[in-house]
């Protein structure tokens, strides 16, 4: 959920609205903001499932250190979505282990 009005911060500098896909679903966000923030605002909590125990992980540190938020972005795995700026038309997918679901099932 986005903060519409804040008692101390007058504005949140945002770029223009852009469209991107998350696991095939179309979502909107602001150009330049971290992908993870756009996902969080849209209610997405799970970014990936772990390799060994297939457990869900999401944003933890939000500053690019813990690597729990990594997803497949435009086909590349292990992209830290909390520090990667959103671009128009980005294809964002849930990561399973190190790859997309199709690869994991093979």
């Amino acid at each position: 959920m986005r903060i519409e009005q804040h008692p101390i911060l007058d504005t949140f500098e945002k770029g223009r609205q852009v469209r991107f896909t998350y696991d095939g679903r179309e979502l909107t966000g602001y150009e330049g903001e971290p992908i993870a923030e756009a996902l969080h605002a849209a209610g997405v909590m799970v970014h990936r499932y772990t390799t060994k125990k297939h457990e869900p992980r999401g944003m933890f540190c939000a500053i690019g250190r813990c690597t729990d938020c990594v997803m497949i972005v435009n086909g590349k795995s292990n992209i830290r979505t909390c520090i990667t700026p959103l671009e128009e038309g980005m294809v964002v997918e849930t990561q399973y282990g190190n790859s997309s679901r199709e690869d994991a099932q093979k």
Binding site: H6, P7, L9, V46, R57, G58, F60, A62, G64, P85
Partner: protein, 529 residues
């Protein structure tokens, strides 16, 4: 090709920027590398007003201090290279940096490592579930990106970070179910705890998280009381429906670059390089400043940054011995003012402090529940002179380095003294005009203007208010006491705003005079955002 600089600074937070500005002003050719998109380190997440004194930028919000630093850096001609990840620090003061999708090499005559600290974590069952986040993550989401971390949060940790972030969560429109800490005492400033407690958030000291529940994301959390070995006591479990668990359990210096370069390391709340009084490590020309040298505050970081820059400038001949000594001593004086009082490093973790420096008994309720009782407050005879008419009431009962209240009052009503760690005192003979500058300027939001009897059976209280929706004159709501319990009906008399208050509203409410000493917060009738 290796590019040479007189000084390379790693980290564009308060320490790094302050160091770079000082060095540039001494004539050094400086570059600052920062891995982030924006400079300022943690400063731009700190939307609260800082403590200290004028020279430490007290009563100014962290975000404004960040903006000032950036402007100063630009004016001094400091080169700040963002999105630049320092990959390694080599022992001849060489630095390799990844930027613009390639690797570049630099060498500094001097290097200042100001990489700050990273958040600690405390594992518990379910801690890997999405929805369990660090306190810094909550700040990043809400203060930098305008996204609510969650709807209802449990905060773990009552150090300053936990308390400050809890308040910021409330300001962002989130609910805070509770603040807990395994320790028996609140670790941060009492005034930070009081701000949170008076909104109704309960504190559970000597409690730990047992389990965070939820499959794909957090749906609830169970906490339990702990014994003297910090083990949960069966039968004391309490459950909260929350969607977020926030961890504020301390910081550790990010000193990997100095370890890599071969600096001699010691333990100071984490591995830190051994350093001399100018921040120079065992490798000549490699300095550390800010949290990476030892966890303190942003105010201290700015000073240790300047000291390291002076060290580098002195080492490389950019400053005369006389000028160096003069500036260095000024920095040390400023730093020592901050390193005093019950929260200073030397006193960290002590549970045996029972009185203030002046001999007043510390409020145990404040330390264990986050709010003071009236009886405890009454013992601080210096904080309320009970004059007729409007007069200040200062609920600041711990020795912390801070004095904006003294500077705020143009009529001499408040006195702290030369030692800024002193408790403030209300000057009984003074004449309060009710201007409210003290209320607006107190970084701890601990000052109230009270008229105990307006003559019609009522009392008025002017309190600092930083929430939305903005109350309207004439509206009715509820007055809450220090523990956040509703005590009586309150009518809004006025809401004053002023550019110099920087978003702190002065809210004046009218309550039945019997509640003049109790009413300390206002809750609007309709729960709006």
């Amino acid at each position: 090709m290796i590019k040479h600089y007189d000084l390379i600074v790693v980290g564009a937070g308060p320490a790094g920027l302050s160091a770079a500005i000082k060095a540039a002003n001494c004539g050094m050719h400086v570059i600052v590398f920062d891995e982030n998109q924006r400079p300022g380190g943690q400063l731009f997440k700190q939307i609260h007003k800082f403590f200290g004194s004028k020279e430490h930028k007290a009563k100014i919000r962290g975000i404004r201090i960040g903006e000032e630093l950036l402007a100063e850096a630009e004016k001094a001609g400091v080169e700040v290279s963002l999105n630049s990840i320092v990959l390694g620090l080599y022992n001849l003061k060489g630095v390799s940096v990844m930027r613009n999708n390639q690797v570049e090499h630099f060498r500094g005559e001097n290097v200042i490592i100001a990489t700050g600290a990273s958040e600690n974590v405390v594992p518990f069952e379910g801690w890997t579930t999405p929805g369990v986040i660090g306190a810094g993550a909550a700040q990043t989401m809400m203060n930098l990106h305008g996204v609510m971390p969650g709807k209802r949060i449990l905060m773990v940790g009552t150090g300053n970070v936990g308390l400050v972030v809890s308040f910021q969560l409330l300001q962002a429109g989130c609910e805070v179910a509770a603040v807990i800490d395994a320790a028996p005492r609140v670790g941060g400033y009492g005034v930070h705890a009081a701000k949170v407690a008076r909104t109704g958030v309960p504190f559970y000291l000597s409690h730990t998280v047992v389990k965070a529940e939820g499959g794909d994301h957090v749906t609830g959390v169970t906490i339990a009381e702990v014994d003297s070995h910090f083990k949960p006591i069966p039968g004391t479990e309490k459950h909260f429906d929350v969607d977020t668990v926030c961890m504020a359990v301390g910081l550790s210096p990010m000193s990997q670059l100095t370890r890599m370069a071969g600096c001699k390391m010691i333990d100071n709340g984490g591995a830190v390089p051994e350093k001399n009084e100018y921040g120079e490590t065992s490798i000549p020309g490699v300095f550390v400043a800010g949290d990476v040298a030892g966890i303190e505050e942003a105010s201290s970081a700015m000073i240790t940054g300047r000291i390291a820059a002076l060290g580098a400038a002195g080492r490389s001949g950019f400053i005369s011995d006389a000028e160096f000594t003069k500036q260095y001593e000024a920095c040390v004086n400023s730093l020592n003012q901050l390193r005093q009082g019950m929260f200073c490093k030397a006193n960290k973790g002590r549970t045996d402090i029972l009185t203030t420096d002046e001999g007043y008994p510390l409020s145990m309720s404040l330390l264990t529940k986050g709010y003071m009782t009236e009886e405890e407050l009454a013992k601080f005879t210096n904080l309320n002179a009970h004059q007729t008419g409007v007069h200040p009431v200062i609920e600041c009962t711990q020795n912390i380095p801070c004095n904006p209240c003294q500077e705020a009052c143009k009529f001499g009503c408040i006195s702290v003294g030369t030692n800024i760690t002193n408790l403030p005192g209300v000057v009984a003979e003074s004449k309060c005009t009710g201007c409210g500058m003290c209320v607006a300027n107190c970084p701890g939001q601990a000052i109230f203007l009270v008229n105990e009897d307006t003559g019609d059976g009522f009392a008025t209280i002017t309190l600092p208010y930083e929430f939305l929706p903005t109350p309207q004159a004439g509206e009715k709501g509820t007055a809450l006491n220090r523990s956040g319990a509703a005590v009586c009906e309150a009518e809004v008399v006025s809401v004053r705003t002023n550019k110099s208050f920087d978003h702190t509203m002065l809210l004046t409410i009218k309550v039945p005079k019997a509640y003049a000493a109790e009413a300390r917060f206002y809750k609007p009738e309709k729960e709006g955002k």
